[in-house]
Symmetry: C2
Subunit: 208 residues, 2 copies
């Protein structure tokens, strides 16, 4: 079950952007700095490796009462007992994930347009990740940038909470919240910083 | 729920080995020729694409009352309502897949040694895929060939049925069955043949 407050400072992991530091260590430090929710995202690794990594992360998030969300892989989320799954537009249909995951399972869906957000809400999503709000180093496609206006439009189109994702850091976090987002999702603004805990604390302060 | 007879002639799909023919068409033809079970295996495609493909295959297998098994992706199996999942040693742990999938869900596990077979049985597997029995073009690792002796050892180590996989065709299918296998799993012996239906019919005859 989603607590909207948990969306405030949402960390997406990416082992390629964490300056070589082990995932579990970065998650631990990020939580110490004030991250409220964690999504584990891994592509192109064997299922068992993803499972093992997610299970390690879950031990940390559980100890700190932080919800853990698994990107794409509903099966891994269910196998480890994670709190939820996050689905992109190329992942499983939200409506099927809801049926399989059950009522209390958290499901987030990435949306780039109000239409995608509305469909996700109709299909049982608990929250929307809308973006990319700003240009980002991790995803190069400029045409996919929705800006603060796109974020506002997405947030206005649904009743479920919307978080902004893409290029968000201390300088623009407050604008994202002011545009109707319940929180911000970040990768490099936390993971790529030399002091992860401090980076998370600074972002928390920007969110008011 | 697994019917042991369904393991007799088990087709694993591989779009790279089907001479460019569409998956659904090859599955349809293979079933017409006598295939008794179908496993869909896809690597490196987006989840949604795998889901769509599996759903297409399910329409065909359902129409012919043939169980459909999904390789690795338990979530896709559950999302489409497939009969089961097949797990390799680098996939999710069998014991977790059983917990998530439930009692009646079919779970197969690939094993290369009697120890792996015994563990899979203990963890709730319904059947074992043992191999590679013979050298195969699709998997080049020669050290992974267990031979008929390895197949016999695997079959003798567990109570659940064992099927042979790897390099099996009309010339050696009977030996595989004589070595204690409940059936044969094939890819190219059906998929790479010009006449898929006929290739399946020939194999069926070899199985007695
Ligand atoms: Ni801690």
């Amino acid at each position: 079950m989603l607590n909207i407050e948990d969306l405030k400072l949402y960390l997406c992991t990416d082992r390629g952007l964490s300056l070589g530091r082990p995932l579990v260590e970065t998650v631990e430090d990020a939580i110490a700095g004030g991250v409220t929710m964690v999504q584990i995202r891994e592509k192109d690794i064997p299922s068992r490796e993803f499972y093992d990594l997610a299970l390690q992360a879950l031990r940390v998030t559980r100890a700190h009462h932080i919800p853990l969300i698994i990107n794409d892989r509903l099966d891994i989320a269910l196998a480890i007992g994670a709190e939820g799954v996050h689905l992109g537009q190329s992942d499983l249909p939200c409506i099927e994930a809801r049926r399989v995951g059950g009522e209390d399972f958290i499901i987030g869906v990435s949306a780039h347009t109000p239409a995608e957000a509305v469909r996700a809400e109709r299909d049982g999503a608990d929250y929307i990740g809308a973006g990319a709000v700003f240009p980002t180093g991790s995803k190069a496609d400029v045409s996919a940038i929705i800006g603060l206006d796109g974020l506002k439009a997405a947030a206005a189109s649904v009743k479920i909470p919307v978080i902004g994702i893409g290029g968000i850091g201390p300088k623009n976090a407050a604008e994202v919240i002011a545009s109707g987002a319940a929180g911000i999702a970040v990768i490099s603004a936390i993971l790529s910083q030399p002091d992860i805990r401090e980076a998370a604390m600074i972002l928390r302060r920007c969110l008011g």
